[in-house]
């Protein structure tokens, strides 16, 4: 039974700046216990596995948010509930003013979806044929559809790609077509589930840039799930980290680095072949002649103090101070539970 009775329908419809509103969303799955063949056939027993545990968040119009977490964290379950595929156990959701499970069809006009591991394109036909079918699915005016398709195909530099049967496309080309298909009807909200999974570095870059560009131009709100922190950094302004069905952190991407990480990577290039720097919280990552890379725990030693000390001992040619890679930050967030 859905436990959202106390929420008046359209609660957030009046608040035009909120695109996605999620409050106390819960979802459990019934999973059959593994038992003997006969018992599981005639008297199966089930156990409830909690996938989402009261998550709440909202997205403003035009915001680009990454939804990241380890496998089984609840990312895909959330995006499926938000796009009307799965029904929750309790909680309240409004997408563009519509409740996904009770107003699925009306809501569908407001959203675009891309599932990286599943295609909406017809395999044996050129992608442009699927675009045409989708234009009917979304009741688009013929003239408007032709103009929009032409604009997107040009913007995505996909003129020759959309003419080829989908089976002949590379994964990156196919993903470009998937995104065009999802943007055809000018959705206000775009859900992307692992859009860069399996892509090479170049294709990932193209897809990230295109999603960002499309969002900038149309003011589309983007909710993106990914294992790849590059998607988060290149596309999104904000990140929600989820683990065990709970939101672990919800921050702007830039604050995730400064607010959470207490470590910096300092790389020094010097005239001397080597220098000795032994102080608390400073560990050597890499050492070679005229080059030293250090991991500095800023809660013990400040970068400023380290550099002063290094300049006293050597003639520095170059200094680089970096944050650890985003993967490390996310891993640390998972390990610590909450920020």
């Amino acid at each position: 039974m859905l436990g959202f009775a106390f929420w008046p329908a359209g609660l957030y419809r009046s608040n035009m700046s909120v695109s996605v509103f999620v409050e106390s969303l819960n979802k459990s799955f019934k999973v059959r216990k593994k038992e003997g063949f006969l018992k599981s056939l005639f008297r199966p027993e089930y156990q409830a596995v909690r996938a989402l545990d009261g998550i709440s968040f909202s997205l403003n119009e035009g915001e680009r948010v990454a939804f990241v977490g380890p496998n089984g964290a609840g990312k895909s379950t959330t995006i499926k509930i938000l796009s009307g595929i799965l029904h929750p156990e309790s909680g309240h959701v409004e997408i563009g003013g519509f409740v996904p499970w009770s107003e699925r069809r009306q809501m569908a006009y407001q959203i675009g979806t891309v599932f990286g591991q599943r295609s909406q394109l017809w395999y044996h036909l050129p992608a442009k044929d699927t675009f045409e079918l989708l234009s009917y699915a979304y009741d688009m005016d013929r003239g408007d559809y032709i103009k929009r398709a032409k604009y997107l195909v040009e913007a995505f530099d996909a003129g020759s790609i959309v003419e080829k049967p989908v089976r002949q496309l590379s994964l990156g080309e196919r993903m470009r077509c998937e995104i065009i298909a999802s943007l055809l009807h000018r959705p206000k909200i775009l859900f992307l589930d692992e859009p860069t999974v399996g892509l090479d570095v170049v294709s990932k870059g193209i897809i990230r840039d295109l999603v960002k560009q499309a969002s900038d131009e149309d003011g589309t709100t983007v909710l993106l799930t990914s294992h790849d922190t590059g998607d988060m950094e290149r596309v999104c302004d904000r990140v929600i980290v989820i683990d065990h069905g709970r939101i672990v952190t919800d921050k702007p991407v830039r604050d995730l680095r400064s607010g959470f990480i207490k470590e910096k990577i300092v790389t020094l290039a010097m005239k001397e072949s080597s220098i000795e720097l032994s102080m608390g919280g400073v560990n050597i990552v890499e050492k070679s002649p005229h080059h030293l890379q250090l991991l500095v725990d800023t809660s013990q030693t400040s970068v400023e103090f380290l550099l002063q000390h290094a300049m006293q001992k050597s003639s520095l040619i170059d200094i680089t101070v970096e944050d650890p890679p985003m993967e490390e930050i996310i891993k640390a967030i998972y390990a610590n539970g909450a920020v």
């Binding site: 044996h124 044929d129 009917y136």
Partner: protein, 261 residues
């Protein structure tokens, strides 16, 4: 409604475009399909030469029923082969994409593919029905109605059994067996069914509504029985669609798959 109709026509166009991408293969499959069904004709001739009257059914009854059954099977294969693959679509989570569209899920799932043997089956079936008209003087006036009734029964029957796939994993192969037997029962003379099988043929697997009663009508003109059959067809279609939506609710609960991401 207009939007759904435009989407339906567009889906049918896409399905045909997809099926005819390899025209050579389509033609060959159609020819082989016709050949396969032609092989059964001598068998019917032999059976009815030994027993010319099976409780009122003669060779013309059997050929008409066979033509009707094969033609309707072909229509469903050509226009709604997706119905037969519903258990597979469920297993692979392919309904997800349809659930995000503002159009009925069943429409997209049913007309998402076409099988090119259907062309051969339609041509063979129509040929046999026309032969019955010319050779045995059978009236073909109500043939369009019979073809619609038969196709709806086949489509509904396939949908009904395919829907079990919402609860049972890897049901695809079992479902194919059921569809095959459905087709087999529809093309056999009515008198060979009795007892429980006869009840099944009027209820859960209502082949009587699609071939037996229309054949009886063509030869005996019992309007009341035909009206009963038409109502039965509509009722069976409603039952199948309702059962599908019940299954779709189970799909939307996500419990069929256990925990996902």
């Amino acid at each position: 409604m207009v939007g759904n109709l435009a989407f339906l026509l567009s889906l049918i166009r896409m399905t045909f475009r997809s099926a005819t991408m390899q025209r050579g293969a389509m033609l060959i499959r159609a020819i082989f399909s016709i050949t396969t069904h032609l092989i059964y004709i001598p068998i019917w001739l032999v059976i009815f030469s030994v027993a010319p009257d099976i409780q009122g059914w003669r060779i013309e009854h059997a050929l008409f029923a066979y033509g009707l059954s094969i033609c309707c099977w072909g229509i469903v294969s050509l226009f709604a082969f997706g119905l037969r693959t519903i258990p597979e679509q469920i297993d692979h989570g392919e309904l997800d994409a349809y659930l995000t569209l503002p159009k009925p899920v069943l429409l997209s799932a049913a007309i998402s593919s076409s099988r090119n043997t259907g062309l051969g089956e339609v041509l063979f079936g129509l040929g046999l029905l026309i032969f019955c008209g010319l050779h045995f003087g059978v009236s073909l006036v109500l043939l369009p109605l019979f073809l619609i009734m038969g196709s709806v029964v086949f489509a509904s029957g396939i949908l009904f059994f395919a829907t079990i796939g919402f609860w049972l994993k890897q049901f695809y192969a079992s479902a194919e067996e059921i569809y095959f037997n459905f087709n087999l029962m529809a093309s056999r003379p009515a008198p060979i069914f009795s007892g429980v099988i006869k009840i099944l043929a009027l209820t859960l697997i209502p082949v009587s509504l699609m071939t037996h009663i229309p054949v009886q009508f063509v030869f005996e003109h019992h309007w009341k029985v035909l009206i009963f059959a038409v109502l039965g067809v509509v009722g069976y279609a409603v039952l199948a669609v309702s059962f599908f939506h019940l299954g779709l609710k189970h799909y939307e609960s996500g419990n069929r798959f256990g925990v996902r991401g």
